[in-house]
Amino acid sequence: MASKAKLVLIGNGMAGIRTLEELLKMAPGAFEITVFGAEPHPNYNRILLSPVLSGEMRLEDTILNDWDWYHDHGINLQAGRKIVQIDRARRRVIAADGIEAAYDRLLIATGSNPFLLPIPGRDLPGVVAYRDISDVEQMLAASAKGGRAVVIGGGLLGLEAANGLLSRGMDVSVVHLHPWLMERQLDQVGGALLQKALAQRGMRFYLPKQTEAVLGETHVTGLRFRDGEEIPADLVVMAVGIRPNIELAKAAGIHCERGIVVNDTMQTYDPRIYAVGECVQHRGQTYGLVAPLFEQAKVAANHLAAYGRMRYEGSITSTKLKVTGIDLFSAGDFTGGPEVEEITLLDGTYGVYKKVVLKDNKVVGSVLYGDTSIGPWLFQLLRENHDIGEIRAHLLFGETHLGDAGHAGHDQAASLPDSAEICGCNGVCKGTIVQAIREQGLFTLEEVRQQTKASSSCGSCTGLVEQLLASTLGGVYDQSPKKKPLCGCTDLTHDEVREAIVAEKLLSARQVFEYLNWNHPGGCATCRPAVNYYVRTAWPAEGLDDPQMHFINERAHANIQKDGTYSVVPRIYGGVTSPAELRRIAEVAERFQVPMVKFTGGQRLDLLGVKKEDLPAIWATLGMPSGHAYGKSLRTVKTCVGTEFCRFGTQDSTRMGIELERALEGMWAPHKVKLAASGCPRNCAESTVKDVGVIGVDSGWEIYIGGNGGMKVRAADLLCKVKTNAEAIEITKAFLQLYRQEAHYLERTAPWVERVGLEHIKVRVVDDPTNRRRLAEALDFALAQERDPWAAAIEGHLDVHAEPLARVAP
């Protein structure tokens, strides 16, 4: 048997080990792995050193992978052994004590070094950097004796160190070269507010001040500034920045600039050598936050596993300062300039400052101080390149003030008690989530979903869970990676999968899984219906609609209930029925002993508690088409009585509702689609909380889109006014076809409209009649491929497996 390929990792930190974790998931056993780490510890969470310093956490709580983890995965860990040379010709790495290891693939994750000012006295005892466990141990030892600490550097790390030492009872001063604090994350106003808040806690500031020398004979005694001023100190912490640790790579002749230069696959100029983390320079950028490093880790692992599919394309990062009681958030580019606009709010008394920087009606950066509750939302708008034209006036007040948002996800999760229920579907409390994030080292929404179930059902608490991640992890947490994979089976996004289906003419979900190298050839509950949907929309005629890709409801053509029975909702166009239909429904209910007959929220009749075996016979007896109440498809068109009987009606909304329902019957979509037609502005059919709603006015119809009355209430937007039923129907078709083509699976029209902006839709559906007709025709073509599933089942063209495979007699 050929021996396994050897992978050596230099650097036992977060980026390197994360790469190994990803690699072990993708290709377990592909490599014989050796890890060299200069520190005598297993992999720990460096970002949590600040809470350790301030006394909020213990050192042992920061361990991410304990010794057993390495052992269990057969990894040879050489902790405390520093590699001093890479011999590329012989493909070996050499440690300080002479130990060597051979590699076929080498991964460099040497991180960064704290930058130490090149000034006299910097080597004196009592001068420390702020980077690793030993630095923290030195600071803790010094703080135990009390006295005066001076932190040089008023950036993120410096202030966290200063705050930690302050809470350990030291007298703390911060020296900073720049006129205001955290200038890389804050503008001048934000910096001043932060300084004021920290000064109130007892921190002293010297800025702008340049340090010229560290004073002292055998131990540090103070600092001297360039202007001659001297201040006393018993401990000096240098936190003036980090530099990518590239010496080893450079000495081995690997191309480096500021960092080790890598391409989009995280490969260095030596094809056998990959690099990830803070030591890396990618497209001219270096990164010091964890979220981008984890993205890099995923890409590097993908290529080490020889999948060769992913590319790292850089990251947008956001920052949060982990100083308890101080809320600060910044993201993107907030420096301003000629082409950008700024929206600001400053309340000096309450210490609240909000600034959003816009370019072409898109968020490009933001600084929040004092109230950061809208941070995750702004960051999402930034990442998704969201057009904020319509919400501009409310932008600084957050998503909660948009329309009639039902339960706002963006309350201050941080201020909730541990016992507060976050996830109502699965009954998960805040305390459970926070504990899981801390103890199990979770970093992403997906991990929290997996470990705690929170946000894994209806998803309406996603915002809250993201806030908990952000407040627990601080700067580490990037609300969600820039590229959100469709599911855990792939690294590709919804849009990338869609493009591949069109470009490569992939005609079935299983073909997609195979062609795009799905991690599990059978997919999962998330990707199966989504990919099947994308195949069908891309290839309505040729694409295979595979029943096994559908959720049970769409295979049984009935809605599964909690006890395993089903519900049956026949289609009643516009909610208008007849004595004959009612008689048949009553007969079915009696003959099959249906436990409950009920009107639905959408004005239809629901037969609940039906046994699966009875479904085909019930459908046959009813003699009515499926109401699709179980599908990601057109549900109902709710109507009011309109001019026919109502003395206020201005239009025949009942007729309109029936016409719409007939025109769209059988339409499957990314999610359920509900319509309504009201005969006058009194809007009795509630058209303004529907995916599409029409409201009769004297001159014709107003068409509303993107409304929602469910999980999160959203008032619909007025798309346009038309004169005739035919126009209303064509516009509805065009709008829904655009939604079908562009929205992600399981995205309702409401979030989709918010994502792409009303303008995007108006341009394609209202302003351009040719495009409108083309869209409507595309929908007609797709609908022409469909037939009523209940009729198909009765005629034997569709097997819903109503009967058991066998009955074994006792």
């Binding site: 997996q450 050839p521 199966r528 049970i552 295979r555 497996h801 058991p804 495979l805 007699a809």
Partner: protein, 113 residues
């Protein structure tokens, strides 16, 4: 009914593999209650009690992928080879011996676990 010599189990023929859709399942009514038969993409067949340990969902209606079935009610994932729910959920279902010979399915009601 076929039985191999070293095979003392009580096998019953219950149908043919072609009646079970790949990546899906069917169920059988038995004196021990419903038993789900689940077939994956590699044509491996599993027989487990047709009740999710969570709220009793019919596993025969779930998504099958690899050795996992996703319960249709609340998406619990059950490892079919062990009959155990995947973490963080806890619970188990009985598994039953099942084999396919020449496309015919044989089930034994002597529960493995």
């Amino acid at each position: 009914m076929t039985a191999t010599p070293n095979d003392c189990m009580n096998w019953m023929e219950i149908g043919v593999l072609a009646e079970i859709p790949p990546l899906g399942g069917r169920y059988v009514e038995t004196p021990r209650g419903q038993i789900a038969l689940l077939r994956n993409e590699a044509d491996e067949l599993f027989a487990v009690e047709n009740r999710c340990p969570h709220r009793g969902g019919p596993l025969s209606e779930g998504y099958v992928s690899g050795r996992i079935v996703f319960c249709p009610l609340h998406n619990w994932q059950i490892d079919l080879s062990k009959g155990e729910a995947l973490p963080p959920d806890v619970g188990c279902v009985k598994t039953y011996p099942v084999k396919v010979e020449a496309g015919r399915i044989f089930l034994s009601l002597d529960a493995k676990s």
